[in-house]
Symmetry: C2
Subunit: 206 residues, 2 copies
């Protein structure tokens, strides 16, 4: 058996699986192909992970949570609200840039695979409530002191989420839309990052 890293076989399988799932989606990825990439026998994939579905879950379990709620995590820094929010939006964007193929994979699975959707829901369905509430109280304070307009936290967060995530889900279209500028994708992404922040901050004006 040939391994590329000095990782354990189990780790190698997870890494190969992650790359393939992200590239081709769940349905189009086979355990045979995962094994071929790792350079091991296909039975090993089942030896370590029992089933393809289980492998998928193990690979993405943690990523799912951080993907869904990285935006909601309260940064501990003690900055004025607006600056803190700008930072959060940017951080969220950067996190997505590093995992740019994750959103389309997860949303596709959730949409086409009822079972997985329920599983994820059970896992993380309870999280947003408390975090949104905390955000709401921050927003209320700002509103009271006249620095922003009255704002619903859930709605705001979903808007940020939409703008940032769609930059990566829509990257094929983004290329088309930005064809005028002939810029490399990286530059376009930087522009989107700035524009997303601007859009959101603008929307808070009293």
């Amino acid at each position: 058996m040939i391994r590329t890293q000095n990782n354990t076989t189990e780790q190698c399988i997870m890494e190969a699986a992650e790359a393939l799932f992200l590239d081709k989606g769940y349905a189009r990825t086979s355990t045979i192909e995962i094994a071929r990439v790792v350079g091991c026998n296909q039975a090993l994939v089942h030896y370590y992970f029992r089933s393809k579905e289980n492998l998928f879950k193990q690979v993405f379990e943690n990523k799912i949570k951080s993907f869904c709620f990285s935006l909601l995590e309260i940064s501990e820094e003690d900055l004025p609200f607006k600056e803190k929010l700008e930072k959060r939006i940017g951080n969220h964007f950067d996190m997505l840039k590093v995992n740019s193929k994750l959103p389309i994979l997860l949303f596709n699975e959730v949409h086409t695979n009822q079972d997985l959707a329920r599983k994820i829901y059970a896992d993380v369905g309870h999280l947003p409530l408390s975090i949104i509430a905390r955000m709401q109280s921050e927003l209320d304070v700002e509103y009271e002191s006249g620095r922003i307009c009255k704002t619903d936290a859930a709605s705001l967060l979903f808007s940020i989420f939409s703008l940032n995530v769609m930059t990566f889900i829509g990257s094929p279209l983004l290329r088309l839309f930005a064809e005028n500028s002939k810029e490399p994708l990286d530059v376009i992404l930087e522009q989107r990052r700035a524009e997303n922040i601007r859009l959101i901050m603008n929307s808070l004006n009293p």
Copy 2:
């Protein structure tokens, strides 16, 4: 053979295929299942459409174009720019609501299926340029007369597209985010529609 409509068999197959592809994605949908839904022999699917891929293309060919560029179509009404834009954003949203499962299907196929991506690109890749240019000139006129801030058409259009499309791709999350309100999804969608328009219009302020 049992048909539900008095449509031709060919139409029935296309309708069943559309519904199944939208529900379960391309990879998880089999020609066998399509035939089962229609109530005909599986060979008929190939008799009329030769291959599953071909069937997919025939079903979604037109929808792909209207999906990608419905936003760009210039409405002929002769309204002030801002009112026209508000209308366009709303129309785009409404079109998506009627085809709410289309975005995730198309983006997933484009991301996981290189061939299809190239095919679509060849089909529609040339469209945006001229239309964005027209939009840009409208924006420039508004800018010159001081009614909006300097605005890049492609960027604006992509933002609108992001907010509207993500409402439907992200509907599972939207439910979570909006769990506080306990509103039915339809009400939440109306809120998003209004909020998307507000966000964009706000971003144009000089």
